[in-house]
Amino acid sequence: MVTTPCANPLRRGLIEDRTGDPCAVVIFGASGDLTRRKLLPAIYNLALSRSLPSGFAVVGVARRAKTAAQFSAEMKEGVAQFSRRKPIDPALWTDFERGLGYVQGSFDDPSTYKKLSAHLDELDNERGTRKNRLYYLAVPPSEFATIVANLKQAELVADPIAERSGGPWTRIIIEKPFGHDLESSRQLNDCIASAFAETQVFRIDHYLGKETVQNLLVFRFANSLFEPIWSREHVDNVQITVAEEIGVEGRGKFFEQTGVTKDIVENHLLQLLSLTAMEPPISLSADAVRDEKVKVLRSLRRMEPTMIRENVVRGQYGRGFIKGEEVLAYREEPDIAKDSKVETYVAMKVLVDNWRWGGVPFYIRAGKRLPRKVTEIAIQFKQVPHSLFAAPDGGISPNVLTVRVQPDEGIALRFTTKEPGNATILRDVAMDFRYGSAFGSNTPEAYERLLLDAIRGDATLFTRRDEVEEQWAFIDPVIEAWRGQASAPPGYPAGTWGPEQADDLLARDGRRWRRP
């Protein structure tokens, strides 16, 4: 249920015209790192910003035996270390702590859910949480089915029809990966759907909580300047880069199962692509926005084996240097097979077969151990049809609009100008807008925004089932084609922008990658 704006007459005209209903947030996997590093600091910051509803509580559920006081002390330590606003406010923490609880038990033991149910009933009375529940599954996907089935069995899931008529609500947040291929993603979705209606499911992709990603909609649809040229008529190509300096960082076992394509491309990168390419939605309602995104995903030209050979390049990093320090090759990292064929880099030429983008290549790439951490969307416009200027380099650089998602979130527009002087010498300059400089750097973390949206029932920045399945439907053939290949991915030295074959991918089209 999306809370209706303005239903409360005193909310009319307030800057914050939406408020979350009172609720209890139940975190499964509360002993894990995600809870300590991200979730509790995010919830605490929401409390600091006065964004939490008046009746509110957090319940941790995990296997480890600990008292509520121990759980609270651990969370306090986590908030002290990882909150963006420090130090902890003692007056506020005392109140916040009163709403923290812990239920110990195994996820497959029905008695855990009985204890949880009794605890939530107590909170309804003592904290005024009004039987509204937000479950956060901060656990591996292998646990999802067990938890979901037990929640249903214990009658801890509200009837979605009753929700729509103002009854208590239940929502569930799940973290990626949403399956490991189309089939498993369908199974996972079916399993969740056995207990929760799609309107109750919030699939989190923390990229969508980033300020610049949200700003993409504002930039495109609140400015009259860009949308008319946002099409095949004016755009030559689009390049989307998700680059990381880091290697697998202790996640070797996980990464051997996924590779960068499933870890980054299938979710974050295709989400960025769909936001870039989507048509204007009829409204900003969750379904209107997601309808447009899913249309883009359905328009992606499916990869046939020949196309995969021509349009997809994978790579695996070898030894090299990052910021002057020598780093190990992928196969030398802990928990990585010595003959691993897992890709740490992928680049693709993707075509969006629709009226707006027909013929415009979207070059997307993601990789580990690249020279710098950067995520950006670069719209490269077409060359001028005729050059009046005898530029020394033989031509005029095309305009490029770059949306930097991280770091240094912002938007830059490259254009050509004349250097001062008697001669007509052309030079590229950039109009550069940076969030940190213009609005200060203390913007909310992605998890803050996303948790608050889930509490409010706004699913716009969460991924819908059909989006996830379309993403897998696009990626599956690529993964399948690689599965049959005997050879390992081409190597690239750590600290470079990927294998040479990735440059060839664009060179064949007479283009080249940007160096972000």
């Binding site: 239903a7 409360n8 007459p9 005193l10 005209g13 006065r50 506020l92 213009a438 200060g440 750097s441």
Partner: protein, 392 residues
């Protein structure tokens, strides 16, 4: 953001206004030259708006300068600060330029501060000199310190070319805000009016709205029977702008009407039932501004003697940290309580935003330009102030 550092240009000097403008522009160019020391951290010049600040005395302007420096550390802007002293014996314009930097992510983010002083007859040319420094194509906010008169040509000229005029009804009056708003409406490109007192009560509005967020309590918003407001100060004092604006906001959101009985002000709900309004005083701790809103209690329901909902929002005045000047720039704590008939009491402790002039101005600049609720609430509040609701 780290603390603010400044790089002053040439010391303040006087002369003809046009020469002064040229000199200050040259100074700014000098200040933005790349540093000769190649190891010096690069400066990033950022400007997202013009902020004009006008004060009646140099002393007041100097007191307000650190406030503006703090604001431009988070909202990079060109700040043009001007004192206008028409009664001064001298007839001159003085001025200087300074670059004000704060460190963000290892980079120095810098704004420009131009300080001007207009003395004697030169005061009449203040608006044209100030406007010469405006950066084009970005919004301009005019912060007017002190009393405001809409027939003052300097105010009129500056206000006409701004997107937002910022006043503080605590220091002018609600009536002044109304007059400025009426003047603005008569202009072809009307600037929007903002009041720092309105920003200060924003958190109170949100906290009051919370009582009626729940589907069960929502209908009780139209059944408020009693409101008690408490403000810092003495018994017998008049209602302060924060309390008056708060009442104005509640009244306009809920469709209340005011009427008089034997000269005394009465409040009636949309359904015609009376609402009791009480205004009390609480002791004003040192460093707390007079009339600061300290508490708000409400009762709602069908039976005034057995309310279905009781709510209170109580600010622990000066509960924030106290600095050396004995003021409390840190945020105060608020206790929010809600009791429903037959239900448990829900309680929350909430920290207000930092209680600093710079933060109020910063938040005001972040608010949407057009605020219909403000215009309506001010008009309603004016009745309350005119009728002289006093602290019992």
């Amino acid at each position: 953001m780290s603390s603010v550092t400044t790089m002053p240009g040439a010391p303040e000097s006087g002369g003809k206004a046009s020469n002064l403008i040229t000199r200050i522009e040259n100074e700014l160019r000098e200040l933005w030259k790349p540093p000769e020391d190649p190891t010096a951290p690069p400066l990033s010049r950022v400007c997202t708006m013009n902020i004009e600040v006008v004060a009646p005395t140099k002393e007041l302007l100097e007191r307000y300068t650190p406030v503006i420096d703090e604001v431009t550390a988070s909202i990079p802007a060109r700040a043009i600060l001007a004192s206008i002293e028409p009664d001064s014996a001298a007839e001159e314009v003085t001025g200087s330029a300074t670059v004000v930097c704060s460190l963000a992510g290892g980079k120095k983010i810098c704004s420009e501060r131009i300080s001007l002083g207009f003395h004697g007859n030169a005061s009449a040319r203040a608006a044209s000199a100030i406007e010469a420094f405006l950066v084009p194509e970005i919004p301009t906010a005019l912060v007017w310190l002190g009393r405001v008169h809409t027939d003052d040509p300097v105010f009129e000229d500056l206000a006409r070319n701004t997107s937002r005029i910022i006043l503080d009804s605590e220091y002018t009056s609600i009536s002044s805000v109304i007059h400025v708003a009426a003047w603005a409406r008569s202009q072809r490109h009307a600037p929007e009016i903002s009041d720092l007192a309105w920003t200060r009560i924003a958190a109170w509005q949100e906290l009051l709205a919370r009582f009626f967020d729940d589907a069960e309590t929502r209908p009780l918003a139209s059944k408020i029977t009693r409101i008690v407001l408490k403000q810092a100060g003495e018994t017998g004092a008049r209602i302060g702008p924060e309390s008056a604006l708060m009442l104005g906001w509640i009244g306009t959101r809920l469709g209340w009407k005011t009427s008089r009985l034997a000269g005394a002000l009465r409040f009636k709900r949309e359904d015609g039932a009376a609402v009791t309004i009480e205004l009390d005083a609480v002791p004003r701790p040192k460093g707390v501004a007079p009339h600061t809103l300290a508490a708000l209690m409400i009762e709602a329901g069908d039976d005034p003697h057995a309310p279905a909902l009781r709510g209170s929002i109580e600010r622990e005045l000066a509960s924030g940290l106290t600095d050396q000047a004995n003021t409390t720039p840190d945020a105060d704590v608020i206790d929010w309580k809600c009791t429903r008939a037959g239900g448990a009491e829900i309680e929350q402790r909430i920290r207000l935003g930092p209680n600093k002039a710079a933060k109020w101005l910063e938040r005001t600049l972040h608010r949407p330009l057009r605020d219909v609720a403000f215009a309506e609430s001010v008009a309603f509040a004016e009745h309350i102030v005119e009728d002289g609701l006093t602290v019992s």
